[in-house]
């Protein structure tokens, strides 16, 4: 475009609607960081579309002064796919939650990823159904007591990163609602990725599942319980950065750096590494391990809508722009002359 874009500010992305999440909800922070990050993309408001499903997080599009659709439960990835294929000029975000993406919409989630549609999907993981007032979700830990599991959840939870990896996602990241800098920069990197980017955000539902992520959020403990991934750097964590992750066979283990183990013995983070490595990272769960945050994987692959539209272009190049009259008149035809009708 030749016309210069006006420089947008975070506030330009706010719609005129009152935000209606519970006071103290982690969603506010994600909304704020999104608005703060968006101007960096250098896109005008009208080029951006937020698509969501159903759940607390899915109200998100209403609060953005962009185009948006609050669709139906679990189906935002499918809506976004159709939109991107029809309109590859648009920047499309999918806002979803643990129930929306991994339970009712599990099918669409994995198919979005394996197709590698160019959308940025933000998965607000609060390990609970908030909007329906407190039932357990597919990421609730086993044994969790909720309204629908008075004796504790018996389902084995899903690990969103592992699901994303299994579906061949090309960009996988994790962040935490209250780590605002980290969240904003992670969202930015996700948005800049070509192909599907998935960002799992640990989000606190202070009404129905308060404190679910305290181990990763609280200042006093988070440095010991999370590990910030940096490409090309060794996996080091801890308040004093004195602990690292080493590989023992296929198993990761926590090692004490003060006990003579050098950094070179540690695992080095590589966003382009084999999926087996991402699998190992994803398997590191509290309390046995620090949970990695940051970009797990950032690789390139063909983008679905490029391929789809590429085939349309190739067909047009080879056969020319389709002519309906020629098509209708192709194959076996016959003429009923004027005279025969008069018989």
């Amino acid at each position: 475009m030749s016309t210069e874009l006006p420089v947008l500010k975070a506030n330009d992305f706010a719609s005129d609607q009152d935000v209606r999440w519970c006071p103290g909800c982690g969603d506010y922070s994600i909304l704020a960081q999104m608005k703060k990050m968006l101007p960096d993309l250098g896109l005008p408001l009208e080029q951006i579309v937020f698509v969501s499903g159903i759940g607390c997080s899915s109200r998100f599009p209403y609060y953005m002064n962009t185009y948006g659709m609050h669709s139906i439960h679990g189906r935002a990835p499918a809506v976004a796919t159709g939109l991107r294929v029809a309109r590859p000029d648009l920047k499309v975000f999918v806002i979803t939650g643990d129930g929306d993406a991994l339970s009712i919409g599990g099918n669409h989630f994995i198919h979005l990823l394996r197709r590698n549609v160019d959308v940025t999907l933000v998965l607000f993981n609060n390990r609970i159904y908030g909007l329906t007032k407190g039932q357990y979700s597919p990421t609730s830990p086993e044994g969790q007591i909720t309204k629908s599991t008075p004796m504790g959840a018996v389902d084995h939870p899903l690990n969103p990163i592992r699901v994303a990896l299994a579906a061949e996602a090309t960009f996988i990241a994790r962040s935490v609602d209250s780590q605002v800098q980290h969240l904003a920069s992670t969202l930015y990197r996700a948005a800049m990725h070509r192909g599907t980017s998935v960002v799992e955000v640990y989000q606190n539902c202070n009404v129905f599942n308060d404190g679910a992520w305290d181990y990763a959020k609280e200042k006093a403990v988070r440095a010991d319980n999370t590990l910030e991934l940096e490409n090309g750097k060794p996996l080091i964590f801890g308040k004093d950065r004195d602990k690292g992750i080493r590989l023992n066979g296929f198993k990761p283990e926590v090692v004490d750096l003060s006990s003579g183990i050098s950094q070179d013995d540690l695992l080095f983070h590589d966003e382009k590494a084999d999926p087996i490595y991402v699998q190992i990272l994803a398997g590191m769960r509290y309390p046995d391990f620090p949970e990695p945050i940051g970009v797990f994987r950032d690789v390139e692959n063909d983008v679905f809508e490029d391929q789809v539209r590429g085939q349309m272009a190739t067909a047009t190049e080879k056969k020319g722009v389709g002519d309906l009259n020629a098509l209708f008149n192709s194959g076996d035809t016959w003429v009923v002359p004027e005279t025969s009708a008069a018989r």
Partner: protein, 632 residues
């Protein structure tokens, strides 16, 4: 290409008849559907009017030789207009005992019965679950049985080509084809061309099939078993250029035409399902026509993809059959709520649940009208024949775009797989579909995404348009702004607006027409794929001088505005449907008319005879000679 150049002439006696109904029946692996299609094409090229009824099992390869594996293809070709594939058969070609036993009852007494006598060995009888040879049964005397060693003759015809027995036997269908072509004075040209093209990469198979075809024809000419052949003259169709078209193909072409007429790209989201999949197969061939096909992970994703594309400004379409429409229900409600235009096609099949995948039925009418939560009305229109699918698809998009609403098109398995001659239209002679997207300022100072035009349609503002950013969603909308609103009065108002908007479609659709007298003893009211049978039955009753008229509905929601008036003009109303009375329920509720039903759910289209009988039972005979004039 016009008329075929080389008519093959028989030296034997030729009897001219006005129409023939023939059914080819064999194992589903015997290529009966291919034969039927070839006979249809060839007959249409000769200028006959044609109607077809393919009937095949749901299993791709049902056990060979069993009754479950029988596949049939019925064709009626005539020198007059035909609207149905025919009730009873003039000839039946049965390739094995199972095909004979499951089909002979439809053969007219005295009708021609051709069997492959090589396929009636003990093991064949056992596979067909027969204790005795049907060719020895007394009832066989009712037909003109002609036993031909089709298998042996085919093997002989291809003997020196070095094919295996199995490969040779695969050519049996073309031998039968040649015989049928001889019998009815059909040219072999089109089928020879077909064989050349289809087996271009397999010269041996090509040669074998050609030989089998020739051998079949030559056998007819020389055998003493068949004394004469038949000839069916060209039909008096309206002048013009024709081709054959099948229902699903016509839907696909109609959708492409609608996209072109509205200068839109066609986004087509779909998940494979019988009997709708051929629309997907057809459309994915035409990427250079701006057709974008998306085979989704499921039915829900197929429609949701379409909704996303519609939001983006494309002409969005999804198609399915009953079970898939059930899955799409929630998303259809979303499309109603966010008021985006799209076309949703339901090619109906026998239900409930998986039901009868390959058989026809009309039992989804109430599902598409009401199968959603809340008050979620949308226009519903139904195609009446294979060729009519083309016009129906265009009309559906015209309505959808004008009213910003999803529109449902009903087709059925019978229309989808049936074929008929189609007068080829000129795309330049079809009225364009004008769609305008607002731009900043074009709608006044403040943009209201739920503002209304004279038909109550809202503006279709698409992403990328500066200044018109807005959000849509499934929550109730505030009138005008489209913001979320839980206000009680607003909800009432919005429900009313959405209903009135769909009702306004009645302004855009033509007045209902009636075939026959304006007033009388009986009105036959039909919809969808039963048109041909109802029309033919009513025409015959009218020729008998009965006071009966035919009214065929294309618009099922809303109804044409003069329908109530029409219904009031007749003493009785008869509604034949391939369901248990769905339109009848609607008509009774809406117009308080004591309509009667003629209902059947047997996976088959109506026969003309049964409808005529019903009409005869409801009307007095031979009254009012002046009324017969109305037929036609």
């Amino acid at each position: 290409m016009s008329q075929d150049a080389t008519q093959v002439k028989s030296a034997k006696q030729v009897e001219v008849v006005s129409g023939i109904t023939v059914r080819l029946a064999g194992d589903s692996g015997d290529g009966m559907q291919l034969l039927g299609t070839q006979l249809t094409n060839t007959s249409a090229l000769l200028g006959n009017d044609v109607a077809t009824f393919p009937d095949f099992p749901a299993e791709i390869r049902a056990p060979r030789g069993t009754r479950a594996g029988v596949s049939g293809f019925q064709v009626q070709f005539a020198s007059h207009e035909v609207h149905t594939p025919g009730d009873t058969l003039d000839a039946l070609i049965a390739m094995n005992p199972a095909a004979l036993i499951t089909n002979y009852e439809d053969l007219t007494p005295g009708g021609l019965l051709i069997v492959d006598e090589d396929s009636f060995a003990d093991k064949d009888l056992r596979l067909a679950n027969l204790q005795t040879d049907p060719l020895e049964e007394p009832w066989i005397e009712n037909y003109r049985l002609v036993k031909i060693p089709i298998t042996k003759l085919t093997r002989t015809a291809v003997a020196d080509l070095g094919l295996s027995v199995k490969e040779s036997d695969r050519c049996r269908n073309f031998f039968a084809m040649g015989l049928v072509y001889w019998l009815y004075g059909r040219s072999m040209d089109a089928t020879q061309r077909f064989i050349k093209a289809k087996f271009a990469k397999l010269p041996m198979v090509q040669e074998a099939n050609e030989r089998a075809l020739q051998a079949g024809w030559a056998f007819g000419e020389t055998t003493e078993l068949l004394g004469q052949s038949y000839q069916v003259e060209s039909a008096t169709l309206p002048p013009g250029k024709y081709r054959n078209i099948m229902g699903n193909q016509a839907l696909a072409w109609g959708l492409m035409a609608a996209a072109k007429l509205s200068s839109k790209e066609l986004f087509y989201g779909s998940y494979p399902i019988t009997p709708a999949s051929d629309i997907l197969h057809e459309l994915c061939k035409y990427k250079n026509f701006g057709v974008c096909t998306f085979q989704a992970e499921d039915e829900i994703a197929a429609i949701c993809g379409a909704i996303g594309a519609a939001f983006g400004g494309a002409m969005a379409v999804t198609t399915s059959s009953g079970p898939g429409i059930a899955l799409k229900g929630e998303a259809m409600g979303l499309a109603v709520m966010i008021e985006l235009p799209m076309v949703i096609i339901d090619v109906q099949r026998g239900g409930p649940s998986t039901g009868l995948p390959t058989k026809t039925e009309q039992a989804d009418l109430l599902q598409v009208l009401f199968g959603r939560n809340g008050e979620a009305p949308l226009p519903v229109i139904a195609a009446s024949s294979p060729g009519d699918c083309f016009d129906t698809a265009i009309e559906a998009w015209r309505l959808a775009a004008a009213l910003m609403t999803p529109v449902v098109v009903l087709s059925d398995g019978y229309i989808a797989n049936g074929a008929e001659p189609w007068a080829i239209p000129d795309i330049n002679n079809i009225e364009p579909i004008v769609i305008e997207h607002p731009s900043e300022g074009s709608t006044g100072d403040t943009f209201l995404p739920y503002a209304r035009d004279e038909n109550l349609a809202r503006p279709w503002a698409i992403p990328g348009t500066k200044g018109l950013m807005h959000r849509v969603g499934g929550l109730e909308k505030q009138d005008g702004t489209g913001n979320v609103s839980y206000d009680a009065q607003n909800h009432q108002r919005m429900v009313n607006i959405r209903a009135q908007k769909v009702a306004n479609a009645a302004r855009m659709i033509p007045q209902q027409e009636v075939m026959g007298p304006e007033k009388g003893e009986l009105l036959v009211l039909s919809w969808g794929g039963t048109k041909g049978a109802c029309l033919t039955a009513v025409s015959r009753a009218q020729k008998q001088g009965r006071s009966v008229a035919h009214c065929h509905l294309r618009h099922l929601n809303p109804f044409p505005s003069n329908l109530g008036e029409i219904l009031g003009n007749y003493d009785q109303v008869l509604i034949p449907e391939l369901n248990s009375g769905q339109l009848r329920m609607l008509i009774r509720a809406r117009f308080l008319v004591d309509a009667q039903g003629y209902n059947k759910v047997q996976g088959k289209p109506f026969g003309v005879g049964e409808l005529l009988e019903k009409i005869e039972s409801l009307t007095s005979a031979g009254k009012a000679g002046s009324l017969s004039r109305a037929a036609g």
